[in-house]
């Protein structure tokens, strides 16, 4: 008996403190906590303290201009407080930030910079810095294609004096103006000299934001310190914790103040933890991100919109929402930010309806002529492969459910799993029957031309090969329409047509699922993440 003592002690310990040292008999979480809505702030902000943030991935570099570092969410989160843009976008409006004012003509934008703004290394912001940043972006030899594509209509940049920048356009394009003012981080000209790939600024940023870079310990953490009086926090430390289980332990221990990008299951698991109700708050907020299944419309099987509508009706949306997305990813029909005026709220998702799907397939000429249980047409069986990335946990759960309903409808589908690198190569080469992707943007303003215009099917992002001349014309008009209201009306028409054609089988909107200790205050989530200047820590 005595030999079992250590195990018995351990189990007793588990029994005693199984609820994390808090009162397990306390009432459960309230409705606000369950929804992930933050409680209204009542306290007075105090200065000082360190916010420790868990990131599931480490950024590869900290310069958003560089294609390799640009789009990653982790980069956006970490460099957000370091760099500033000429203007800030909020609720569809632009307010001055580094720019004091700007004026527009049909083909030019004249920007006057704020006086007295300094970079973190003490040098003053001038028009030469804006020009140098744009020169790097527009240099075709540099890996800045992401920003370059968005500023494609930029013709020239002039700097008549230290505070004035004149940008001339070759043609009107709403996205170029928005990118220049609200997305392009302004970087110091002197730090952009030399081989762009190996510039020190990629790993030690020099910006004008409320926080300045302190240090980066590869694989472990990245820290920023308060640059001036705009922020309450002394320091923000981003810790790279890939393993979600370990991160949850650190969060419960109080080593992390803010958990970002939790998986739905981890976010849900907090509901069963009494310590979590009492010491933390869950945060749910909309992002401009959605997932979709794509059928290769270059292949005869998927050319007919009727067939794609039938496939959408065979998608077991409710089952997936309940068992895979855990009720956290509501279905979408819109390729724009769902809360924006660009989406038509009258468009409803196609309901799961196998009978109607079979009728549509029959109308498209598909029947089981040889009675083998699989539909066929002119000797061709309805059989295809779903390309899936091995790292995608969601697809590993979703696809078997979908394949099951397809099988019952007489469609033979199988899953072909490859690693993510091979996956993307094949998607780019259009070497697939069906696949899944998601699109995400940190901005409400977006241009769907690269995703749905037929000219983008060969080399661009229109991987599914969608083609509709009417949608092409609409997307072209959207690009040149500078009036926001008229543009939103055109985008709503794009939404209606793209959904009617089932260019994609739209899945769910992906929210941000975060959690913070109750000692962290001032968190105001937005598409651009939290405004860290408002965040403060209580005792």
């Amino acid at each position: 008996m005595s030999r079992l003592t250590p195990l018995v002690v351990l189990l007793a310990l588990a029994g005693c403190k199984g609820s994390g040292g808090v009162d397990a008999g306390s009432p459960g979480p309230d409705a606000r906590w369950l929804q992930g809505a933050l409680a209204p702030e009542t306290g007075t902000p105090r200065d000082g303290g360190t916010l420790t943030v868990r990131l599931p991935l480490e950024p590869t570099g900290l310069t958003r201009l560089h294609d390799r570092f640009n789009e990653g969410t982790m980069v956006r989160l970490t460099v957000g407080p370091l760099y500033e843009t000429l203007a800030r976008a909020h609720d569809g409006q632009l307010t001055p930030l580094l720019a004091e004012t700007w004026s527009e003509t049909a083909d030019a934008l004249t920007i006057t910079l704020r006086a007295g703004v300094k970079f973190h290394d003490g040098t003053e912001l001038t028009s030469a810095d804006v020009k140098a940043t744009l020169d790097v972006v527009m240099d075709p030899a540099k890996p800045t294609a992401g920003f370059r594509a968005a500023l494609d209509s930029l013709r020239s940049v002039e700097t008549p004096d230290a505070r004035t920048v004149v940008v001339r356009w070759s043609r009107p394009w709403f996205l170029a103006r928005h990118t220049l003012l609200a997305a392009l981080p302004v970087m110091p000209a002197h730090a952009l000299q030399g081989d762009f790939d190996t510039l020190p600024i990629h790993r030690a940023p020099i910006g004008t934001g409320p926080f300045r870079f302190e240090k980066w310990e590869p694989g472990l953490s990245l820290s920023l310190v308060r640059a001036d009086g705009r922020a309450h926090l002394d320091r923000v430390v981003f810790r790279f914790l890939k393993d979600e289980g370990a991160a949850m332990q650190a969060f419960e221990k109080g080593e992390l103040g803010l958990m970002t990008r939790l998986t739905p299951s981890a976010w849900r698991s907090l509901e069963t933890q009494p310590w979590a109700w009492q010491r933390s708050q869950r945060i749910f907020f909309e992002e401009n991100a959605y997932a979709w299944l794509g059928f290769n419309q270059r292949k005869a099987l998927f050319v007919d919109p009727l067939v794609r509508r039938a496939l959408a009706m065979l998608y077991p949306a409710e089952l997936v929402e309940k068992t895979v997305d855990l009720g956290l990813e509501p279905r979408t029909t819109c390729p724009y930010f769902p809360g924006s005026r660009s989406c038509d709220p009258s468009v409803q998702p196609l309901a799961y309806d196998p009978a109607e799907a079979r009728r549509l397939l029959a109308a498209a000429g598909w029947g089981d002529s040889d009675h083998d249980g699989v539909l066929d047409r002119e000797g061709v069986r309805f059989s295809f492969a779903f390309l899936a990335a091995s790292q995608s946990v969601k697809m590993a759960r979703l696809l078997p459910l979908f394949l099951d309903t397809l099988r019952h409808a007489g469609i033979e589908a199988r899953i072909e799993t490859v690693d993510v690198s091979a996956y993307l190569s094949r998607v780019r080469a259009h070497d697939f029957d069906a696949m899944a992707l998601s699109w995400a943007s940190a901005d409400e303003v977006q241009d769907n031309f690269p995703n749905f215009h037929s000219s983008q099917a060969a080399q661009g992002n229109n991987y599914v090969g969608y083609s509709n001349p009417e949608v092409d014309a609409l997307l072209e008009r959207v690009r040149t329409e500078l009036d926001a209201d008229r543009r939103a009306a055109l985008e709503r028409e794009v939404h209606r047509r793209v959904y009617a054609d089932q260019a994609y089988l739209f899945l769910g909107r992906r929210p941000a699922l975060d959690a913070a200790l109750r000692t962290v205050h001032g968190l105001k989530p937005s598409l651009g993440w939290y405004d860290l200047t408002a965040v403060w820590i209580s005792n």
Binding site: A145, E252, V418, D419, Q459
Partner: protein
């Protein structure tokens, strides 16, 4: 002896070339592209990807790329990562000491405990407690390291039980739990190896002769029998040496240690060829040196091997 070592060192050159050619070819022929980002941001167009491939020389024939890589490596230049643009040597220099510390402690602890434990088990094989320990070892062998890691993390780093260690990293005693996880399998397998080798040695005529000559039992076991049982243990030790630079992906991920295992795993996943080759080259060199050290250790343990070489 000197000639033997020199010959072995020279043999390392073609072996090294063979390993690197094979690794380079496999890495380059694997489907995928280093110039891809994550799934949701595949928006970088095909033209931009093609341009980056040309700029990085990845459009050249594989033999030419290998030649370029080799010409840099002989000058100790492993190039730059295709993902974060940092020198591969810097990345190796950061990851290697972390993995070597954890794996080295685990190796020393594992073999350091396995030898006396194996001897004690072999010399007490008929006792009930020895059988119980063996059964325990067998059960322990089936415990996956990652599961043990999660358990230890929860018990000794999480807040609920005994939060003695940090959740992430090696500082503040953070190395203890990963070392335990990595020691576990080494200890089990090495103990069983020592025990079975010792059991065999204890039945040999020279052991009986030593006992007949009245040499104390302790000396017979620890001096005569153990020395002859060590050959397979040395082999196993040599085979474990590459773990010093290989790392364990699961353990490093769970304990948040940015070591060689994670570096290799991530660079393979992102097709970061220069980093893949940097890790592979380091491992190849350590493995070859380990093999040489094992062979040399054989000679010092078993005089017959020395004689054969001399002959």
């Amino acid at each position: 002896m000197r000639r033997y070592v020199l010959r072995r060192l020279l043999l390392m050159v073609p072996t090294f070339l063979g390993i690197t050619v094979l690794t380079f070819s496999l890495a380059m022929l694997a489907p995928g592209d280093p110039f891809q980002l994550d799934l949701e941001t595949a928006g970088l167009g095909a033209q931009a990807v093609a341009q980056q491939r040309v700029q990085r020389g990845l459009d050249a024939p594989i033999p030419l790329q290998f030649g370029r890589w080799l010409s840099r490596v002989v000058r100790f230049d492993f190039g730059r990562s295709l993902i974060d643009q940092r020198p591969v040597l810097d990345k190796l220099a950061e990851a290697l000491p972390r993995t070597a510390l954890v794996a080295g402690l685990a190796l020393l602890l594992g073999f350091g405990l396995a030898v006396p434990l194996g001897v004690v088990l072999a010399t007490n094989q008929k006792r009930r407690w020895a059988r119980a320990v063996e059964l325990l070892l067998l059960a322990a062998w089936s415990v996956p390291s990652f599961w043990l890691a999660v358990l230890l993390l929860m018990l000794f780093a999480g807040p609920r039980y005994l939060p003695l260690f940090p959740v992430q990293g090696l500082a503040d005693g953070g190395f203890v739990l990963p070392v335990i996880c990595l020691t576990w399998p080494t200890l089990v397998i090495a103990t069983r190896q020592v025990r079975s080798a010792m059991e065999e040695s204890l039945c040999q005529d020279y052991v009986k002769a030593a006992r007949a000559r009245g040499i104390p039992e302790r000396r017979v076991i620890w001096r005569h029998a153990l020395r002859n049982s060590l050959l397979p243990v040395v082999t196993m030790f040599g085979l474990h040496l590459p773990h010093l630079v290989g790392g364990s992906v699961a353990i490093e991920r769970i304990f948040g240690i940015p070591g060689m295992g994670l570096l290799a795993f991530d660079s393979i996943g992102t097709r970061d060829y220069p980093t893949v080759m940097g890790v592979a080259t380091t491992m190849a060199l350590v493995t070859m040196v380990s093999m040489l050290l094992v062979d040399l250790a054989y000679g010092s343990i078993d005089p017959r091997i020395r004689l054969e070489r001399a002959g």
